[in-house]
């Protein structure tokens, strides 16, 4: 009788894909299990929030401002054709608060914070620092992963609101150079069309993006192998996967918010 010596159920690639999905699922489930358990490393969460938030602030400020200016510049000619330039603040307000603010913040943080978490944890993994924590009876998942994921989940929504505000200011600067309008009337006009649902959706999106960035970075770092090459790979994969998931989430959340808006 022939003995089945197959090593894989489907093929190496497909098996590895499903094993990866299962491992990521277990990792995420472990986060929710550990996050409510003592000890709470509050100091580490604050330290990490500082790392994520304050250090990303200059980049977010610059990018948000440029997005506001460029988007206004690009939108003006189309509105001018219809004689509707007075709608510019409302259009920019909706675009920035609903979509651009959270998305730009998330993409910048995926590159800056996600890669940094992936590389840091990856380096700790390959140099046995994570094992060293474990043998000292310290839960490395709780100390390293939970604190970082909480930090990104808390900080990225704040950065996103800040980015939207700066983007609107950039838009105002562009509008002001053309029409010399006041900042108060610009912001009033911009916010007149923004509903509670828009703000709520924007913050929810940023929360989900923050969680994704932290989780993907931590997962990739925590599972880094093959020495220094693995660290680079973990950092790279953390950015690529986080960005990919952010776009998928954007699509899903927009669909859901539209569904809520119209029904």
């Amino acid at each position: 009788m022939a003995i089945d010596t197959r090593k894989y159920i489907f093929s190496e690639g497909i098996d590895r894909y499903f094993t990866g999905v299962h491992s990521a699922w277990k990792f995420t489930a472990r986060f929710f299990k550990e996050v409510f358990r003592r000890p709470f490393h509050l100091r580490e969460v604050i330290n990490q929030s500082f790392e994520v938030g304050l250090k990303s602030l200059p980049l977010i400020t610059l990018t948000g401002f440029i997005v506001g200016v460029v988007f206004t510049k690009q939108s003006r000619p189309s509105l001018e054709d219809f004689g509707a330039t007075s709608w510019l603040p409302s259009l920019i307000g909706i675009a920035i608060v609903r979509a651009l603010g959270p998305l730009v913040t998330a993409l910048i943080c995926a590159g800056k914070v996600g890669s940094s978490i992936g590389a840091e944890l990856g380096s700790m993994k390959v140099t046995e620092q994570i094992d060293a924590m474990e043998v000292s009876a310290i839960n490395p998942f709780k100390y390293l992963v939970v604190s970082r994921v909480l930090a990104t989940t808390i900080t990225i929504p704040i950065l996103s609101l800040y980015c939207s505000f700066v983007g609107l200011y950039g838009s105002y600067v562009n509008v002001h150079t053309e029409e010399s309008s006041s900042i108060i009337s610009f912001y009033q006009s911009a916010f007149s069309t923004i509903s509670f649902l828009d703000i709520f959706t924007s913050v929810t999106k940023a929360l989900v993006y923050g969680f994704t960035i932290g989780m993907v970075g931590a997962y990739k770092g925590f599972h880094a192998t093959q020495g220094t090459r693995g660290v680079g790979k973990a950092a790279n994969q953390a950015v690529v996967l986080a960005m990919f998931l952010i776009f998928i989430e954007e699509l899903v959340i927009v669909q859901l918010s539209n569904w809520i808006r119209y029904f």
């Binding site: 700790m124 620092q129 094992d131 060293a132 474990e134 043998v135 000292s136 009876a137 310290i138 100390y143």
Partner: protein
């Protein structure tokens, strides 16, 4: 405490085995029929091993024979495929997280790479396991504990330095100090002298013996360095092809007629 050893000091240390009272009635580690494989490749093939209270056992063997795997199983970083691993009368692979953590507080693990936390200075590296495991310690108590272990390893002046500013030997010592801060009953050393020059290696060997005497620890020293094994081990266990080929005093193992044992020692001397 750790004056730079002269040539005669080193030869003297090499000639003397550590003097220590060993209680052969009390087993701190008892392993029976231990098997472990990775991706269907067997690494440990039926290990039986005992470590007695106050004893240092040096596990010798070629690279890739599973020496480090053995101590990682002892500390619960890896799970055995088969066999019983009793550490301080507790079966390691049957413990829950809380019980395993409590056991780990009684085991010190010194990593081959030292595994110091890059983002912390020496003080923070040493204080970290203490503050995370012992509650309600004042800042002064933590500082005193850190200074005490740093003094034990002769590096009190490095307290504010970052790991990247330390030499390989200093990193090893700080790594050992970090494990000593929790006053363990068992010490596991993974290649304590690898990558070090002979003089620094002799200092580390001396430190291992001092730790045994001062802290009354029982230790497993994983090494492929014959000098380290001879100077630190009360017994030597030679691990070849996933099994202990010979266990006994250095001279007994060294003078064994077994072809494989002879081959290992001859190879090391040629190296």
């Amino acid at each position: 405490m750790f004056s730079y050893p002269t040539g005669s000091d080193i030869f003297k240390a090499m000639a003397e085995n550590p003097k220590h009272i060993i209680n052969y009635d009390e087993e701190v580690i008892a392993i029976t029929g231990l098997y472990k494989s990775f991706d269907d490749i067997p690494v440990l093939k039926g290990i039986d091993f005992k470590l007695f209270k106050g004893e240092n056992v040096a596990v010798l063997g070629k690279s890739g024979t599973g020496k480090s795997v053995l101590i990682k199983i002892i500390v619960g970083l890896l799970k055995p495929d088969k066999g019983e691993v009793l550490v301080l009368d507790q079966q390691v692979d049957k413990l829950n997280t809380k019980e395993l953590d409590a056991l780990r507080l009684r085991i010190g693990f010194s990593f081959q790479s030292s595994a110091l936390y890059d983002s912390m200075n020496v003080y923070q590296n040493l204080a970290f396991p203490l503050t995370m495991n012992v509650q309600h310690l004042s800042k002064n108590e933590v500082k005193d504990a850190v200074e005490e272990v740093l003094e034990s390893v002769g590096l009190k002046d490095k307290i504010n330095q970052m790991p990247s500013d330390l030499s390989g030997g200093q990193r090893k010592r700080i790594g050992i100090a970090r494990t000593l801060i929790l006053k363990p009953d068992i010490m596991l050393y993974d290649e304590p002298t690898s990558g070090l020059d002979p003089i620094t290696s002799a200092e580390i060997n001396e430190l291992i013996n001092e730790v045994q005497e001062k802290y009354n620890t029982s230790s497993v020293i994983i090494t492929h360095d014959l000098t380290c094994a001879k100077n630190t081990g009360n017994r030597i266990a030679l691990l070849l092809n996933g099994k202990f080929l010979k266990v006994g005093k250095f001279e007994e193992v060294f003078e064994s007629d077994d072809e494989h044992v002879k081959g290992f020692f001859n190879y090391n001397f040629i190296q």
